[in-house]
């Protein structure tokens, strides 16, 4: 058994627990511990993504109780990719947080490590109740992190976030209860197998469970009309937390992709292709709502939050085709959009520090002190987000446009994706010119502190990922295709977890 699979889960748990032990000691030790853990997890994730690309799907049987009875962790290309994205992003966010943010409240480092554990766990688990558990780990720690540093708006946004998500958790339990009641198992691969021969009289109930579950994932992914918590939660929390949360909505996206290809996919018998009629229209309206919010934005942080909304809409609209090539394109877009929106949150925060009166608001203020550095960061990140060349937004957008071309809703997808790009171009162009160009005379009494290299390092690194995604576009798109191929053929997953006999059941059901 490959113990490395558990690394991205257990190491943050251990580091988090040790951070709690260090609660009353110097922050330096907590930082060191947290950063070491994050770096180690990143290294492990790199090893795991290499394994996932070279080996078949791996299964880790916890407690040595064979599936479907015990809990399993499953490492396929999708989960390996998500873990790598998470751990890299977390490492960079923590470097940023260690500059100042972690000082503003208690227990930041412990909560941060538990957050990583929760996200990685959600990506790895092959058990639907265990997914619930990791959603809870994620939810509680993200609640703690949103509130970190306090402030009235932060507390209100955090309250909305946690209450909506707690209700979401109860709904999750109802849905899982129905699934367990009808199919008698919690293992996701086993659910998929049992779904293939579920009797027709249970169809409506099973579908109801699947759709209720979808509403929970839609809440996590921030799809309309369940996205309202997002702009304020992301807009008001501290920058490194908001940046880390760029990957949180992707957990919802991941869950949708996983559950509705594996359990309610092609081969799901009476409940086959369950959310196909729902997903794309909902995602496209989310894209529109994000664009409207973007246009209305009067603050760079707020604008960044709506960019997250738009990226979720785009991503799920493309995934909504449930076409192999389109999913591959979405897999290319996913890391790009995660890293870039995260970078935008960090850049906005650094801009905030050098504009004494306006902060991130779109009103004229004194020029920022480090014009070249911040201007470069903003311009680069904005170019990438808008989808202009030569950065990764462009290649990802082109790939998505190309792969959805044959779908019947292609005109909608094209029109909205391109119009979304144009609107973000207008908004970010406006934001950039106001912040960097439309400046008031410098006030010699009001000097802001310079941003050190280490402070700017995370945002610079995030930005530099963008050209790398383009330069290595060949191998990356190949990996994405292989990933999409694995996702759209869930029999592989079932075979890895439950053996060949069960996988055959799934394959047979696909025809009928």
């Amino acid at each position: 058994m490959n113990h490395l699979i558990l690394g991205p889960l257990l190491l943050p748990l251990l580091a988090g627990a040790l951070s709690v032990l260090l609660v009353n000691q110097s922050l330096f030790r907590q930082r060191l511990l947290g950063l070491t853990s994050c770096l180690a997890v990143t290294v492990m994730s790199t090893a795991l993504i290499y394994q996932s690309a070279t080996e078949p799907i791996q299964v880790y049987v916890l407690g040595d109780w064979r599936p479907p009875f015990g809990i399993v962790m499953v490492l396929d290309r999708l989960s390996a990719m998500m873990i790598l994205i998470t751990s890299l992003l977390a490492f960079l966010c923590l470097i940023y947080a260690a500059q100042e943010t972690d000082r503003q409240g208690k227990n930041f480092h412990a909560l941060f490590q538990f957050q990583i554990m929760g996200i990685n766990g959600a990506f790895l688990t092959g058990d639907i109740f265990n997914l619930f558990v990791f959603f809870e780990v994620m939810l509680l720690s993200s609640y703690g992190l949103i509130l970190h540093g306090a402030g009235r708006y932060r507390t209100r946004a955090g309250l909305h976030y946690v209450i909506l998500n707690l209700v979401g958790s109860s709904i999750f339990l109802v849905a899982v209860g129905v699934l367990y009641g009808l199919l008698g198992t919690l293992n996701m691969a086993d659910l998929a197998v049992r779904m293939t021969h579920a009797p027709a009289e249970n169809a409506a109930l099973l579908k109801a469970a699947g759709l209720i579950l979808f509403s929970v994932f839609a809440l996590k992914a921030a799809l309309l009309p369940l996205c309202f918590w997002l702009p304020s939660a992301y807009g008001f929390t501290s920058a490194p937390v908001a940046a880390l949360f760029a990957v949180m909505t992707k957990v919802g996206v991941y869950a949708i992709l996983r559950i509705y290809t594996l359990i309610f996919g092609d081969g799901a018998g009476v409940a086959a292709n369950l959310i196909t009629p729902w997903l794309m229209p909902i995602a496209l309206t989310t894209l529109v709502a994000g664009a409207i919010g973007l246009v209305a934005g009067t603050d760079l942080r707020q604008i960044s939050s709506y960019l997250v909304l738009m990226s979720v809409g785009t991503l799920l609209a493309v995934i909504g085709t449930f076409d192999m090539a389109a999913i591959a394109a979405a897999m290319v877009y996913l890391p790009h959009t995660t890293f870039m929106t995260a970078g935008m949150f960090l850049t906005a925060d650094m801009i905030d520090r050098q504009r004494p009166d306006a902060g991130t608001g779109l009103t004229p203020d004194q020029p920022v002190r480090q014009k070249t550095l911040l201007g470069f960061l903003f311009l680069g990140t904005a170019v990438s987000i808008v989808g202009l060349p030569p950065l990764s937004g462009f290649t990802a957008k082109v790939m998505m446009l190309m792969t959805v071309q044959s779908h019947s809703a292609a005109p909608w997808l094209w029109a909205l994706m391109l119009a979304g790009g144009l609107i973000s171009l207008i908004v970010l162009g406006r934001a950039g010119t106001i912040i960097f160009w439309k400046t008031l005379p410098e006030n010699p009494l009001h000097t802001s502190r310079a941003i050190s290299f280490v402070h700017a390092f995370p945002a610079l690194t995030l930005l530099s990922i963008s050209p790398l995604l383009v330069l290595l576009g060949g191998p990356i798109s190949e990996f994405a295709y292989a990933t999409a191929d694995q996702i759209t053929r869930p029999a592989q997953y079932v075979e890895a977890v439950l053996g060949l006999d069960n996988a055959v059941l799934l394959l047979q059901s696909k025809g009928g």
Binding site: V20, G63, P68, G105, N107, I171, G181
Partner: protein
Amino acid sequence: MIIALIPLLPLAGSIIPFLFSSRSHHAAAAGCVAGVSLILLLAQAPAVFAGQMPIHSWQWIPAIGLNFAFRISGFGFLVACLILGIGLLIILYARYYLSTEDPMGRFYAYLLLFMGSMLGIVLSENLILLMMFWELTSISSFLLIGFWTHRADARQGARMALIITGGGGFAMLAGFILLGHIVGSFELTDILASKEQVQGHHLYAVTLVLILLGAFTKSAQFPFQFWLPHAMAAPTPVSAYLHSATMVKAGVFMLALMFPVLSGSALWFYLVAPVGLVTLVFAAYMAMFKDDLKGLLAYSTVSHLGLITLLLGLGSPLAAVAAVFHLFNHAMFKAGLFMLSGIIDHEAGTRDMNRLSGLWKYMPVTATLTMAGCAAMAGIPMFNGFLSKEMFLAQTLKPNLFGDQAWIIPLGATLASIFAVAYSIRMIHEVFFNGPATDMDKQPHEPSRGMRLPAEILMALCLLVGIFPAVLAGPMVNAAAQSILGPEMPEFTLSLWHGFNLALAMSAIAIIGGIVVFKFRRYLFDSHIWFSRYCDGKAIFETVTDWLIQSGYRLNQAVFNSSLQRYMALLIISVIVLGSSPFWRSETKFLGTATMTAIDPVTFIMGIILILCALATVITHRNRILSIIMLGTVGLIVSLTFSRFSAPDLALTQISVETVTIILLMMALFMLPRNSPKDSSRYRRQRDVLLAGLAGGGAGALAMGILTRPYETISDFFLAQSVPGGGGTNVVNVILVDFRGFDTLGEITVLAIAGLAIYALLHNFEIEAPQTDALGRPWTSDRFPMILANITRPLLPLALLFSAYIFLRGHNEPGGGFIAGLITAAALILQYIASGIVWTRPRLNFDNHIVMAWGLIVALVTGLCSWVFHYPFLTSTFTYVSWPWIGKFELASAIVFDLGVFLVVVGSVMLILVKLGAVNSPDAQTVSTLAQHHPDLEPEKEMF
């Protein structure tokens, strides 16, 4: 590789200017980069003139058809020569033009970036690669136009140019993807050879429109012409380069590039020719009325671009040749004229023609050069502009698809030529003559040598090409046209004299008409005022963007209103809609076939109480204490239900959770008024009742649906394996700590996180219980009751003993770490309640953080131990040992895990309760004195 270097060098060179500090070094470095690129380009000349097309290609991202592929076609070579040649002159010119305050290094960096992108456009072999360079020109031109960032017009102009050209680029990208889809390749070589395939495809019309949108926006064709005049806020070198020779030419370059594959259809003609014609006439007319020299030149540029577009729209091979030739000529004279207008601005302090006059006296050389440029612009014989204009006029006379209305094209062409002559004369007249120089800020004089040299070179070329076209321009134009037209290449000769023909007559009419119009311009100026008021595209553009922003803002305010109630209602509605949708047209029966158990009186009564208490909780919700009591009763009934249906573990857990929760709620209530205000409208209450009823009813219905169906689950395995596999007879506990121990590990982490999060929240928040209520009465008069204190102290050891018992028997009998932890926490908290924090805290002197953390570590390490024995994480083992006096005793690794659970539960529950209690304890004032010794209680100073 050499071809690829031509665009890549300037792109990479855009960092060079950052490496030097002196202004001259910047210019020299930029010049070197451009120069090397030009040499590399010229080295390809023999191949190009021999009719070859060198191509170099490397695969990049096959998934999107992107190849790193470059080609040098005759046409590409010509435009690349213009880009680099004029670019070098601009680099020289800008060195003298920019003032010492301008950041020179940044300017050259942007300029080289732009130059490289332009070269990329004209040399790309792959359409997607071309698209990358195309949008790069939008970005770099944005930076260049907005170079003088302190000027509002520069910012607006830059933004407008970016949005219009960038937006057009998005459309063009879509068009390219469709084109690539039709052809099956993104290589230009393949695409240009697939005319029939493309034009026969049902997507041809869409593709064409999308690509034309990109080209028209870039080349400022009607109705997108307005961004270009506003881009004149840029420094003059930028205008001279971008808005005469290069960027705006990218659009017509694209039209010419796509000419072999997209042209020839009626649709092409009806889309391209009218746009070109309208732009040609409209912009020529507008140019007449511009008082700003650069504004005049800008509209003139738009007009000339319209001319080229019209030529390409006409679609005949000779028209294409004329288009290429005019593109070449226009770049030269217009770049020169822009530089000259910059010189005038620089030396006279203004470029407003109302203020300028009589400069001939001060700067005769500049005046002569400007006259040469204007002559070329107006199409006077002996200058290059005349030649291509003649060819253009001849082409407009050919029959075309307008049929009977074909005369409209030569009419428009003549009109535009008349205006062109008129505005050229006006420019010369008002700047250099028109009385003595009066309204100048400074004494005008000839510019420095370096600043004038580029214009001199360009004007000399205009004249030389005008006189010896066949020698100087012939081969290049020939190669360019050949590469566009291929086998359809017509016979043509470039010469000054074509004999007396209708085109010459039109030229003559234009010159005479131009002079007449100039003479009587006053009348036109009067009539123009209303026209210019309604025809400013910028105003419309700004109205549209403002409207977009305003309505977006309003819509957003209406929807995102930060009301949790609304968000919650939306969530519940979504769940109801999604969850009920499968039943809308379902034909199968909702309930299953299983028979229901008969209801006994006890269960029935319990059910009734449960329902009543649930209702009472809602109805009494404004009286908070009452409501909590009702809620507690609901919890109690639920525990009773658990034990009624033989789930003692669940019942125990439920009871202890209830206890702790109620304590928690009471503490929170302490800080709130007794009654909550009435704040929901009638409608809102009705809506909420409906939603809650549907959601609750729906969940109940789902449960009924499941319970009436046959039930087969994996739980039989758990029952069978509990003793042999898990070593415990209490299946619930074995599931918790063994079968699904990983879930439990996750859940105790959740509990720990909740503790940390709530602790951090309260820590930052500094809530204080009020001292008095609204009427001035003391908030609380309670003292710690002595009887309670005296009972609870001896009770503590008993409670702890009991919880140890519950813990130890957990694996086999109802109990376990979770329940034991809750009991311990409740027992400890009872001490705080009874005796107050000041008395209790020093006596229970341990940090709950530490307890919690050790709990997690114990659980985790227990799981890790199985790695030592080469088993997966959390594999359990157990054995039986015989202890003296106690007898046979089971030792299970799961018990250690359960100990971790116990510690986490105690630690986190205590962490929350003590923190919350410390805030609102009656003796809260004294707490702060304890703070130094007990960091749990009050915020401490920053430690780092």
